[in-house]
Amino acid sequence: MSTQTTTQTRVEPEAGQSAAVTYTPAAESIGAVLTPGERPKRPSPAAASTAFGWRAMLKIKHVPEQLFDVTAFPIMMVLMFTYLFGGALAGSTQEYLQFLLPGILVTSVVMTTMYTGVAVNTDIAKGIFDRFRTLPVWRPAAMVGYLLGDVLRYVLASITMIVVGLIMGFRPAGGVVGVVAGVGLLVAFAFAFSWIWTMFGLLLRSEKSVMGVSMMVLFPLTFLSNVFVDPSTMPGWLQVFVDASPVTHLVSAVRGLMAGAPAAGEVAWVLVAGAVIMAVFGTLTMRLYNRR
């Protein structure tokens, strides 16, 4: 059996046993690994979180298909809504794109956050969670690790959409600085917002129910906002909801930054909302994580 079998994916029932010599556990070699000298010092919260983040990267490396939702899905969103609504709402698709792109960027990234909950829930079902929970490390590290991996996904989705937008004629007045600031604010908010899904990932029994709840929350939250149309055309009761939605404020802030006319009030609103969401749902998440 050669050692060049790294990319094999088929299951070999007795791999390494039928062909080679049967494995016989040796007391000496097992004893040797149990005698490591000094135990290392426990890792810092940052080191533990980074290690968990590294795991998220490895999963992307081994299962690259999972990036579909942060590449193909956002491209589809930009194309679909620009050409569907552009002519009707703004007179031309070009003009509508300037209005829509920051909004659809927010919609796509905020929708992507739900996969955090799915990932947490899948791991619980598989039992690796038990391993993590018995480790003597900083307790939130495992959760922060998921989110570090997800931040990469949010950045990827943002880059994809902006590139597609630029090709289609999106011309942000804020320039590179404005666009980077807008994406930075969006990713920071998405990081905070994801704690809602880590909580549901721990709380709900199955991956399907996590998806279901996520959709129930995310669809109204993203569509009932200022992403697609100006809220002044909506009935009064709906305007109240839309004005209170964090997505509306996030979209206004990102639009402002990208247009080179940052609205400090909106940015501050988003940062405060993010901090509150993280404080509340981060606490609930850790409570569930420790309690399970």
């Binding site: 059996m1 050692t3 079998t5 790294t6 094999q8 994916t9 088929r10 299951v11 070999e12 029932p13 007795e14 791999a15 390494g16 046993q17 080679a20 049967t22 494995y23 016989t24 556990p25 040796a26 007391a27 070699s29 097992i30 004893g31 040797a32 690994v33 149990l34 005698t35 490591p36 135990r39 290392p40 010092k41 426990r42 890792p43 080191a47 533990a48 290690a51 968990f52 590294w54 795991r55 490895l58 999963k59 081994h62 299962v63 598989k126 039992g127 690796i128 969670f129 038990d130 391993r131 993590f132 929970r133 018995t134 480790l135 003597p136 490390v137 590290a141 309690r291 399970r292």
Partner: protein, 333 residues
Amino acid sequence: MNRRVTDLAVETSGLVKIFGDTRAVDGLDLTVPAGTVYGVLGPNGAGKTTAVRMLATLLRPDGGQARVFGHDVVREADAVRSRVSLTGQYASVDEDLTGTENLVLLARLLGHRKPAARDRAGLLLEAFGLSEAAERQVKTYSGGMRRRLDIAASILSTPDLLFLDEPTTGLDPRSRSQVWDIVRAVVAHGTTVLLTTQYLDEADRLAGRIAVIDHGRVIAEGTPGELKSSIGTGTVHLRLRDPAQRPEAQRVLTRALGVPAHAEADPVAVTARVSGTGSEYGAAEEASRVLAELAAAGIVVDDFSLGQPSLDEVFLALTDRPAEPAATEEAAA
């Protein structure tokens, strides 16, 4: 609080865990001496897994107390976590990652720097016969390989106490005996092992002491020998030449020994317990008298043996029902 910290790996009293209206663990008292293999034996749904998960800080007890090396599992959970490892019933390794990546990840989470983490992973994979599969995703591993990687991941931290929850369930015979050898090597090194199992022979082979649990509490405890002798000195196993003579043989045995003789699945086999109290010369003498009576009754006996009762028989005697077919409505979470 520090008394006898080194003597006892686990000490529980009146431990309780309730799921809904099921008392999964219902007043469990366990005392596990350090440096041994301790077997927790019981059928599915007896509360074994729930008990282990509480001891490994994964579940909060609803009542009672549990200490691991003198540390309370609730109030000093972190201290407990730094000394124990758990290999659960379901592989607690990441299937998408390779064997090496799994172990390097854990090594880093335990504070090893990257080069040291890689060294340690390599050493473990070597010791567990997984070097060739090291760079393959775990989802391509066989059940036995997966279980070995899982145990390797558990001893990476050099725990003082290793929980193995049904470590050989679902494994083929060869992988089973490999896991047994691993357990022996681990305990020979001084690590305490708490092993749950529903296989009676497994507890018999590995454990120095066994707690038999049923409905969330201990119904018997002791060395395998003590458990067996507590229900009688031994059992006679007979094989007759003619199955037609079996009912008569049963009558003779029952009369001579004062206990019912069991007809086995094999139509020529009969077993009966020998208490050893019927003769001042012990169970063997009593059994030999039975043989003489069988011969006098004209029953041809081809094979005869006097052995200790199996743990199966122990369980039957303790609960009045067999251990094996686990008709369970309450899956121990």
